[in-house]
Symmetry: C2
Subunit: 192 residues, 2 copies
């Protein structure tokens, strides 16, 4: 694997990732990305505002899939369980065959403070979108906010364990393990 | 209240907040802020890189106090309880007499997407700093990350309730209530 489907934004994203890995994010130009993808700069700018955003193309796809899975989760599930079910769905359907891609992307983001900041903002927006989806399910305001934030925190922690070079466990297993850790952390003592 | 202590950065922060409230963030210049504070632009730039950062001056103070409180929390406290104790300490010592300031600042930040993004990044850094402080207490990596993120999520939710115009409860009460909500959210069902 290593390439997305052969549509233009997917080819551009794959080409960008290759070039960022080979010569560094700072050193790569949009022209080079377009050339590597066999497309024009004009096509690049039809899909992305700059060379940074191309790294976050997958984030919108992930958000879409996660929110759809959440809207489809059984109405009877309590909020955190619904978020857990939706995360499990994307762990398989979205990330299943993309570990190599995710690892290469992670290395590039980890090496650049501006990209790390951008990644954090995307995750914060995702948490806010999850909270909104929970409100649509009738979850009260504060519970929706807390479940959105903690769900995305669990996701981030599980994701980082999953892309670690030494890891051999599936994303799905690591998500479940991280939810268990959250539960034993929070379940024990209510601070007052 | 409404003013920080009469040191230069505090006076600049108070002047900036006044002007942002009166004529809007976008419309205010550094020159005007310095003049209102009775200081020079040069002094402004000795303390802040730009007119945005002046709004986040308190964030560094908050981070310092929160981390100190966390380092001083009894070693026997479980991670989330230690974070809860540190947040309770700043709810009183840091925010106690600053609701008016906090409300005015919140209104300015809420009105501007760039400032909202900046606030999110500051909170994400704070969560990371809390996680590091927990690691110093011997908390394992994943638990430290989760406790940092969930603790700051609880803080944010409680803070938003506290600055709401209609609210009459103390920050401390709202923090405890938000921790309780987190516990009932997470404690019930472990998603798998």
């Amino acid at each position: 694997m290593g390439r997305w489907k052969p549509d233009a934004p997917g080819r551009l994203a794959a080409a960008a990732l290759e070039l960022y890995g080979e010569r560094g994010y700072e050193q790569t130009t949009v022209e080079e990305i377009a050339r590597r993808a066999g497309l024009t700069e004009r096509t690049f700018f039809r899909h992305f505002t700059d060379k940074r955003e191309v790294l976050f193309w997958g984030s919108s796809l992930l958000a879409e899939q996660l929110l759809r899975a959440l809207d489809e989760a059984p109405a009877a599930l309590p909020p955190i369980a619904a978020v857990g079910a939706a995360l499990q769905a994307v762990a398989t359907d979205f990330f299943g065959d993309r570990r190599d891609y995710a690892q290469r992307r992670q290395r590039i983001i980890a090496a650049n403070p501006d990209l790390r900041e951008r990644e954090r903002i995307k995750l914060a927006s995702l948490a806010a979108a999850v909270a909104d989806a929970l409100r649509r399910r009738g979850v009260p305001d504060v519970a929706a906010d807390l479940a959105g934030e903690t769900g995305i925190a669990v996701f981030r922690v599980a994701f980082e364990r999953w892309v670690d070079e030494t890891n051999r466990r599936s994303f799905s297993e690591l998500l479940a393990a991280s939810f268990d850790e959250l539960q034993s952390l929070v379940g024990t003592t209510a601070p007052r």
